[in-house]
């Protein structure tokens, strides 16, 4: 077994409105910053032991499918690094 960190990033799918991001963008603009758009995302860093990176990725994918993301509104991506 090897030690990995799987980083799961959960984003709203393109086209799903994100009122929190809109509000954050407006606050930045009120502070005088220039920006074109802003997207928010949730990121989970998961330390786990697995036989290899592929097994770690599979498990992190399963975690995203079962709980971390909601397929109705979210896309997610998984990156795996040795720890």
């Amino acid at each position: 077994m090897s030690a990995f960190t799987a980083t799961v990033t959960v984003r709203l799918e393109t086209g799903v409105r994100d009122p929190e991001a809109d509000t954050t963008q407006q606050a930045l603009e009120r502070l005088g910053f220039e920006l074109q758009s802003l997207r928010s995302a949730d990121q989970f860093e998961i330390d786990l032991d697995a036989a290899d990176a592929e097994a770690a990725r599979d498990r992190a994918n399963a975690m995203a499918e079962r709980l971390l993301a909601n397929p109705t509104i979210h896309d997610y991506s998984v990156a795996v690094q040795s720890r």
């Binding site: 799903v16 409105r17 009122p19 929190e20 079962r66 709980l67 909601n70 109705t72």
Partner: protein, 230 residues
């Protein structure tokens, strides 16, 4: 018969629901989710609140509690299940109903009275109404914006599973009458069978004449008649 009002950590409308059902002489019992459904359960109510602090997403944690597997199985057997507010979020997260309830378009918590139009009067929850009739019910939520893919929405419409839409008092569906940015003004939907319903407005807060409106009683009465023996 007993309506099981399922309490999770952070449920806070369970007692409102119990009081409303009590006033309607409907047998009920508040059930801690870890204790499972009572043997004589004939209907299930998922009450409002902020289960598990809305961590991750509203309803996400409660939806994965073991009791939800039991509730899913009983729902398939025809036991009525009503999810209200956080209970609706739990119902969608658990896959009892399609779609998701997420952040209000205003990004704010909203507590106000709204009007909803009955879209399907041929259900146990709406049978005292005609399609097109309007109810006045309170809402109290930050995550009530109904999101669903266009293909799933068309599927729901084709199967007549949209129960309520936010509307004006005279029953017109407009953007102005939509309090939270819900897709197509959808306020409540049905599951695979009409025994399963979820909605964001609170019928249990509109069930006692003393507090203004009893429009919610008919919806709650849908818990009364079981279609299967316990």
């Amino acid at each position: 018969m007993t309506v099981a009002i399922v309490r999770f950590g952070g449920s806070n409308c369970d007692r409102d629901a119990a009081r409303a059902l009590g006033a309607m002489d409907i047998d009920h019992e508040i059930v801690w989710h870890e204790d499972g459904l009572p043997a004589d359960t004939t209907a299930v109510m998922l009450p409002g609140g902020f289960s598990y602090g809305d961590y991750l997403r509203a309803g996400a944690m409660a939806a994965r509690a073991p009791i939800m597997e039991t509730i899913r199985a009983r729902a398939e057997d025809g036991v009525p299940v009503l999810g209200i507010c956080n209970g609706a979020q739990i119902g969608c997260e658990a896959g009892l109903t399609p779609g998701a309830f997420t952040t209000n378009e205003s990004a704010r918590f909203q507590c106000e009275h709204v009007h909803v139009r009955v879209e399907n009067a041929d259900t146990r929850w709406t049978r005292a109404y005609e399609t097109g009739e309007v109810l006045e019910l309170p809402i109290a939520h930050a995550d009530g914006r109904f999101e669903i893919t266009q293909s799933e929405l068309r599927h729901l419409e084709a199967e007549d599973r949209i129960l309520f839409r936010y509307s004006t008092p005279d029953g017109t569906v407009t953007n102005e009458a939509n309090p939270n940015g819900s897709t197509d003004n959808v306020a409540g939907i049905l599951g695979e069978n009409e025994g399963v319903a979820v909605l964001m407005p609170h019928p249990e807060r509109a069930a006692l004449a003393d507090i203004g409106s009893t429009d919610g009683r008919v919806i709650l009465a849908g818990l009364r008649q079981a279609t299967v023996a316990p």
